[in-house]
Subunit: 432 residues, 2 copies
């Protein structure tokens, strides 16, 4: 952590040069107070975030202290100055991406959690929805949602990431990409649910069962094969995210969460689990979510997300407002456990510095990292590189392309960067 | 934790009595699957939560697997079956309460965070809003919102609770009260901000300064006096909750957060901090937020919230669906540090059992607790009692009335309970 003096530009305005403010001036709500502001005079753009366009800028009273404010309401909306939204939208077989450049901390607001659907979002009645467990079990069971809520609960914070996250920025990085378009298919929630193991113990799994099929209640009946070891480890059937019932786009009323594993195997709207002895080879694990390799073989059942990170501020389309100290921050995560280290380079990878992890680094969750950077005003490239508790470190794009080629569709975890130009503009730098 | 066999009613339907389900039956999406469901036949009410009224119940397709689902969208809405909302609403000088009976986990969704305003919610432009620090400082400073975002950030999860929370249920407990009306002015967020100490060090606090005044930018210029020791300890200036910018109702664009301290001193829309040598004796610390005692003296500057807890499930207006095992759960919190123990009584206080804490008990945050309870079908009273790291334990209502009388308006932390009737109905039991 930098010392306090280093937080500020090297040549602050002399403290004694401004007038001392009186309480009366404050109480009058006067605009244009200048005081001895050592940080005054900065442009108004937000680091790492584009300001709303002039045309769309909301109008507010010149002095809010002179007017009665808005009243209480059933649901508290956002400020008109907050424009974060998912995109692209309007697809039933498609995706929408979390606007990472607008977010802070680790939790993703539920309505900004990324989407990836293969047949749209089904409308389900929680009083009619059921979860059936059958196949190689002693007692086939049908659980209502309320049955499941009666069982011992757990509360766990995990990310979910689409295994296709980062495809465009891997194959063809472009300067105008943003954290949302580079890596917006990762989101984090505090989940409430029950261990899948609890349900399986009720059903009585037969000794020969080694795999299970998890099937969703959407129009394509999306289904994935899961090794039963994951069920005994940390698999969950969840009904809530961030304190409230799951949003329909995230699986309401029930979702399978396999912590750290690629997004689509966390089957939404889950309605059926069948125990068996081998993978079912569904289309979502053969035609999709498999990585063909240059040598003609393919990687299948690549479940756990490898260690990843991205700087979200500064980033495109934001700008850096001035030379001097800035909090460079972003997110790091690993499907293999805790992130133990994030390093930041502010000189295109020549030197690396340990970033601070903000809050506890939870297993299979995102953690916010931060590195204080004193920008000299010169062109440079900012990079982040995470390490997880297994010792795995993010590779460069060059290394990943060398191993996999450019033909793969999934499981990208290369180092990502941002080029900073002397005018303070920031562009995606994907060729690491 | 109960063993697995104990999770279920003592007399489950024989496992072998139901037909074995075939995959074809599942894939056909047939309604009315019965299998060997040991939990089948329960009523459809949700434990601890009233079902939507029949008139308002949404209509959904009979079989969602036969229809293309809804498309992706900029913001993901809630299921029409989820009706959680704050209330009462429509007041500019008033409050709205968090519907605790609808929530799980620890985080409160930002749009369901309770409100308490003294002059309504001001509409503020983040590019014009500033925070001034002056008074007994070396360098009076004016910070823009962007100035503050450049500084080293912290991410911390804390509750905020109105000091009047629980007044009605303390003075005149009524059976039809709900977790929302009993204790709905407590909410928890993951905050992102900067330590207030960072800003004060920039300003250079003079040695004689011992208090500060924190003033909000609303129409009443709400202001509270804060001992400077709190600023050096853990006070924050925050701009984000749960990953996104603060909602206007919670102080957008900047809020003072004094972890663990009564709600109104966490000044929303903060615009000014003045350093001085004594409290300012504002109306919000004299006419309000002071507790007159039976002996004619008064307790003032009662900053930290004492240790508290409430069972949120089961609770009124919910019902218990059947005899047998149920997850009794709720929230516990303390403004003095971590909650270290929550005990639950299922026999009106004759015996107490240690509850499980779900997830880490963070300092000055809420933690979800759980106790597995095997309901015999008899009338009883459920109670919870929390202890914090200072060793403080919740008192009974009788003890608190004995010490304070019924005339006080603030700082209620008595043990709360729910009466369970043989028909499964649940009513507030406040006379502990």
């Amino acid at each position: 952590m930098s010392s306090k003096r280093e937080l500020l530009p090297a040549d602050p305005a002399p403290a004694a040069s401004g007038p001392i403010l009186t309480r009366r001036e404050m109480l009058a709500g006067t605009a244009g107070i200048v005081g001895g502001a050592v940080l005054a005079g900065l442009p108004t753009s937000v680091d790492g975030q584009a300001p709303p366009s002039v045309a769309a800028r909301p109008t507010v009273p010149a002095d809010a202290t002179k007017l009665q404010g808005a009243s209480t309401s059933p649901l508290g909306g956002r400020s008109p100055f907050v424009t974060a939204a998912r995109g692209p939208t309007g697809e039933t077989v498609g995706r929408s991406l979390t606007p990472l450049q607008h977010l802070t901390g680790s939790i993703t607001p539920a309505d900004l959690h990324f989407e990836r659907h293969h047949a749209g979002i089904p409308a389900l009645d929680p009083d009619r929805h059921t979860l059936t467990i059958h196949g190689l079990v002693e007692r086939p069971l049908v659980f209502s949602v309320n049955d499941i809520k009666r069982l011992p609960q757990v509360v766990r914070t995990h990310f979910i990431e689409c295994s296709g996250n980062g495809r465009a920025s891997y194959r063809a990085p472009k300067p105008d990409m943003t954290p949302q378009t580079v890596s917006g298919m990762v989101s984090t929630s505090e989940y409430t649910g029950v261990p899948l193991a609890t349900l399986l113990r009720e059903a009585g799994v037969k000794p020969e069962a080694s795999w299970l099929l998890a099937e969703g209640g959407d129009a394509c009946l999306l289904a994935r094969s899961v090794p039963i070891t994951k069920a005994w480890d940390d698999a969950l059937i969840v009904w809530a995210q961030n304190g409230e019932p799951l949003r329909p786009a995230q699986g309401y009323p029930l979702r399978l969460v396999l912590p750290g594993w690629e997004g689509n195997i966390n089957v939404k709207w889950i309605r059926r689990i069948e125990l068996g002895t081998r993978p079912w080879m569904t289309r979502w694990e053969t035609a999709k979510y498999t990585d063909p390799l240059p040598n003609g073989t393919a990687e299948m059942f690549t479940f756990a997300v490898d260690v990843k990170s991205i700087i979200t501020s500064p980033s495109h389309p934001g700008t850096i407002s001035a030379k001097g100290w800035h909090a460079v921050n972003g997110l790091a995560w690993s499907g293999h456990g805790r992130v133990t280290l994030v390093e930041v380079s502010t000189d295109a990878g020549r030197t690396w510095h340990n970033a601070e992890l903000l809050g506890e680094s939870l297993p299979k969750s995102t953690v916010r990292f931060q590195y204080m950077w004193n920008w000299t005003g010169d062109e440079t490239v900012l990079l982040s590189r995470a390490t997880d508790e297994t010792g795995a470190v993010q590779p460069t794009r060059t290394a990943l392309v060398g191993r996999r080629g450019l033909g793969t569709d999934y499981h990208f975890n290369q180092i990502l960067g941002w080029k900073v130009q002397p005018d303070g503009s920031v562009f995606f730098h994907g060729e690491t």
